[in-house]
Point group: C2
Chain length 589, copies 2
């Protein structure tokens, strides 16, 4: 029979009607000569009642039903007894008196309960992902993700963006992260690469006159995994012609506003605040500041200059800085031991130590208080500290100071519950440096990518002092996560050539790798720019999860494998031969 | 300055207004002291006028402008002179008197003109795809594709389908076509495979209770290419739980109706006709019949039985059949030589010959007329032929007859302009055999795939006489193309096991390859089914193109390479080493 409605949608509108429902047995309770079954489907749960009074046959079947059996029932919707009403359920006022029941499929006992409170390990959850995905919180998360997707399509369609697909089998470009390769069967020894992003293709579409492009695109990076990284991830990829950075940000704000409204019914108050990269580093010690709370970094370099504390003095003499954060009420919350743990942690950023004082009604206390006491008033004024607060200092090169205090600011805010978890705080970070120094490569690399346009007035710096140049680029940050970023791109060959030169490319290397793209710039390429938003991260934040695996139906585990299907796997010799490949496995693997 | 509107949208609404436009120089005409420029953008073309009267500076710049320069202009919209009005242009009543012009980028002479009439080769078009994509017909095609995509999202969202992404890095399953492989860096000697379709993942989502899933999914098959095949293609992938095949077809019809309306403003008259696979083969000689025209196959086996024509007689004695098509007016259109060319062509289907008669007012003529004359009336009745028609006969095994006449029917209809190219004729082909014999593998294989549910009454045939079983499957055919197909799937382990057995899998092999999936069926898997539509093909048909390359922004060529970026390419030794791979290239490659 055809389903009348979803189990989770049965309510008083169906009173005294015969309905047909289909779904899963969530649980069964035998109450003497009555059997109650919670029937679950994608919309929720409704209570079924089996009794001799309604159908002896159905009652008999009900006795055999176990959790996760799939059943079809027909019955009458009735009001529950007054004392059985459950105000926490959408369907809590009604129940269904079952006249007919059919088992559509049986179920073995599941390895873990289908409920939000699961203690199954991550690995078990992935191995039985089809069961894990039945849990209401997973369904809610994937529904939020779907709602974001739908919202993006409808907003961008209304705004005349064209959804255009770009290839997944592309050419390997050794710049940037490691590519996933796909051996070619037609061209022995040749490989496609899976795209790290559709960057050059979307720029080509602008060159082709498409004016406004978008795509919800899968991207691939063969890098070691972290909590919010997966081998494949999804990007809301946007590119436009003839728009300024400001116009692109406005358009994006419209999109974000729509998504927040459609997804969580939250009205974003525009405009989204905008701070420069430098200000973000100065105030928050981070290029992706979480602005839901204060505890900003304060520069004490001038105040503490010459106070006689050797660590501070020598740092300042060597061109470093002394900065602090003030932990409200931290004097009590943090013991010396607690602070030492923090000090231990920030060594990974290169910090040599963490100085601190506590503020009391009587003044400053703690190991270095004696050096600071003379300047108590100035310090309290500069740090906004008051009695009961803890002031943490880091003295070092600006990057170490920013990384250390930026980390501490967030870690302490979490520990001290200073963050309103219902708040969604977006912020634009603008005016980025064009280049950043890479410790890994021991040279300057593009802070975003080599196609980013410098500020108009910095174009000439490309040939004179490139590392001083700033870019027409912008990141959108949400609650301390980089949600996305973009830029105005280079549309002129001469600037693109200078950019590659500044990145250390020889003319030949630039030509070999990107000659085909620079040729395109010769044929009437329009000014253009865009951005990309991380869909996984966006969904994770809106679903209030802390790992993108929670908003991906079939993610990889932390070792890039998929425990359900057991991918990757070995393949047949024939498959390798067709691709002209040999595997060469070292003995220790 | 900010763009006021698109060039292609300037009309009388803007009369006497100052506008700012940005776009490409389509062409320039110098008329004495006037210069006319057609300015092109994504919306179309508008005429710009430069004159000393409006701005001497602008006129000077205009003299330097060449085709495909990117410019920004400001000027006043005015009515054209009566005699200069172009009724074929949306903007044909107006022109823009330019006061200011700025060159945003210059352009070299393009290797071919940016116009619909291009004589550039396919390879040149792909190499300069960013120029090819500027041509209005390419832009129109990609816009149609975008419109289909948008239409699908909005219809399925309204109908409570969830867009859920499934992995692109999956496990290789040697059943079916050849997989593209992706070597793993973490697991030496192991490979991911790019999915040929999200089949098992979408079924798992049904097992996970998601009820209605869809995804516009990229699929990958490493097969030799044909006109409507690409290494990667896109599928509108749909799956539902608890719905019958009939209900799924109804839902799909709603989708197709919406797409036709949104895309080409065509009202589809539901319901879409439905014929069985057997009827399609009998009447059209094809499982994807083009029903826009008649010329159906007629079975003459009984009529011609025993007439003394050896070819027919021996065919019928051996269990074959004699069938015909009637070409209206074909007596004149086809010479003996023309018919012999056709005969030559159908040899590839195994046909040994093509018999024919022409119908005149006096009766039948042609080489085999003497055998048929005695039965003229019966033959004319059976073939619906009249004077002036040509009747073509093929006598052979049913498959050869169907393939040959099915091909001739379509080829001749095209030659004779019997097809209304503005018609979109959908038809459902239902009740497919569950298995088909593969000449390549010399065994029966799944006609659709191994997860297709047999008809209820045929389930027992799986163990007794599997190749007689029919499936709960359906194809949707448009204008002779398989637009998509689907089925009710197997949701019970016992049936799935029998299916693998019928396909010749040992128990061990089935367990090794699909054990993980069959285990999922043990935990309360609901009845489910769905279908997939080929987006590339759909777009190709609605754009009235004859190759899917025309509706893909960056397709591969017929050798699976991409002439613009030159993918696939060689990669560095370091990349190969990280993947534990050696390439072994035979000397003749």
């Amino acid at each position: 029979m055809k389903r009348t409605t979803y189990a989770g949608l049965v309510n008083e509108d169906y009173l005294n009607q015969e309905v047909c429902l289909k779904g899963w047995v969530q649980k069964r309770r035998n109450l003497g000569n009555l059997i109650f079954i919670d029937l679950r489907d994608i919309e929720g749960i409704v209570q079924l009642v089996f009794s001799q009074e309604f159908s002896e046959d159905a009652l008999k079947v009900a006795e055999s039903l176990r959790s996760e059996y799939v059943i079809e029932v027909q019955g009458k919707v009735v009001l529950r007894n007054e004392n059985a009403i459950n105000p926490n359920m959408k369907t809590g006022k009604v129940e269904v008196e079952v006249k007919d029941v059919k088992v559509l499929n049986a179920a073995k006992t599941t390895p873990f309960d289908i409920s939000d409170n699961t203690n199954a390990s991550d690995e078990t959850r992935l191995q039985y992902r089809y069961l894990d995905l039945r849990r209401p919180e997973m369904q809610r998360s994937l529904m939020i993700r779907n709602r974001i997707t739908q919202s993006v399509h409808s907003y961008l369609d209304e705004n005349h963006f064209l959804d255009i697909e770009t290839p997944y089998l592309t050419r390997s470009t050794p710049e940037g992260a490691r590519d996933y390769l796909v051996p070619s069967r037609v061209y022995p020894g040749h490989f496609y690469a899976l795209p790290q992003s559709p960057q050059l293709f979307k720029q080509l579409l602008m060159g082709a006159g498409y004016d406004r492009y978008y795509q919800i695109a899968r991207c691939f990076r063969d890098e070691d995994l972290r909590g919010d990284r997966q081998p494949e991830f999804t990007q809301i990829d946007i590119e436009t012609s003839f728009m300024t950075a400001e116009e692109i940000r406005e358009m994006t704000e419209g999109l974000l506003k729509r998504v927040m409204k459609d997804t969580l019914n939250i009205e974003l108050t525009n405009p989204i605040p905008q701070i420069t990269w430098q200000e973000a580093m100065d105030r928050f010690g981070s290029d992706k500041p979480d602005i839901r709370f204060g505890m900003e970094l304060k520069d004490l370099s001038e105040v503490v200059n010459g106070i006689g504390f050797k660590v501070f003095d020598s740092t300042l003499e060597n061109g470093g800085q002394v900065k602090s954060i003030t932990v409200p009420g931290g004097a009590e919350s943090y013991s010396r031991k607690g602070i030492e743990e923090k000090q231990e942690y920030i060594k990974r950023f290169g910090a040599k130590g963490l100085a601190w004082v506590k503020v009391t009604e009587e003044g400053l206390t703690g190991p270095i208080a004696k050096f600071l006491t003379a300047k108590t008033d100035e310090i309290l004024a500069a740090t906004d500290a008051k009695a009961g607060d803890l002031i943490l200092f880091v003295a070092d090169k600006s990057k170490v100071v920013a990384d250390s205090l930026g980390y501490l600011r967030v870690a302490i805010a979490k520990e001290q519950n200073m963050i309103n978890k219902d708040e969604f705080a977006f912020v634009w970070v603008v005016d980025w440096p064009l280049f950043e120094y890479s410790e890994e490569f021991e040279r300057f690399i593009a802070a975003h990518h080599p196609f980013t346009m410098p500020n108009e007035e910095d174009i000439e710096l490309l040939t004179t002092n490139p590392h001083k140049a700033h870019a027409q680029s912008y990141d959108i940050v949400l609650n301390g996560y980089e949600l996305g970023g973009g830029s105005i791109r280079i549309h002129r060959r001469d600037i693109q050539e200078k950019m590659f030169q500044a990145l250390g490319f020889t003319k030949e290397k630039a030509e070999e790798q990107f000659g085909w793209f620079m040729e395109a710039l010769d044929y009437g390429f329009p000014p253009h720019g865009g951005l990309a938003l991380g869909l996984d991260r966006f969904a994770m934040l809106l679903a209030k999860k802390d790992n993108i695996r929670e908003v991906i139906a079939f993610p990889k585990n932390s070792k890039a494998s998929e425990p359900l299907t057991k991918a990757p796997s070995t393949v047949s010799q024939k498959q390798l031969e067709e691709l002209y490949l040999n595997t060469e496995i070292p003995e220790d693997k």
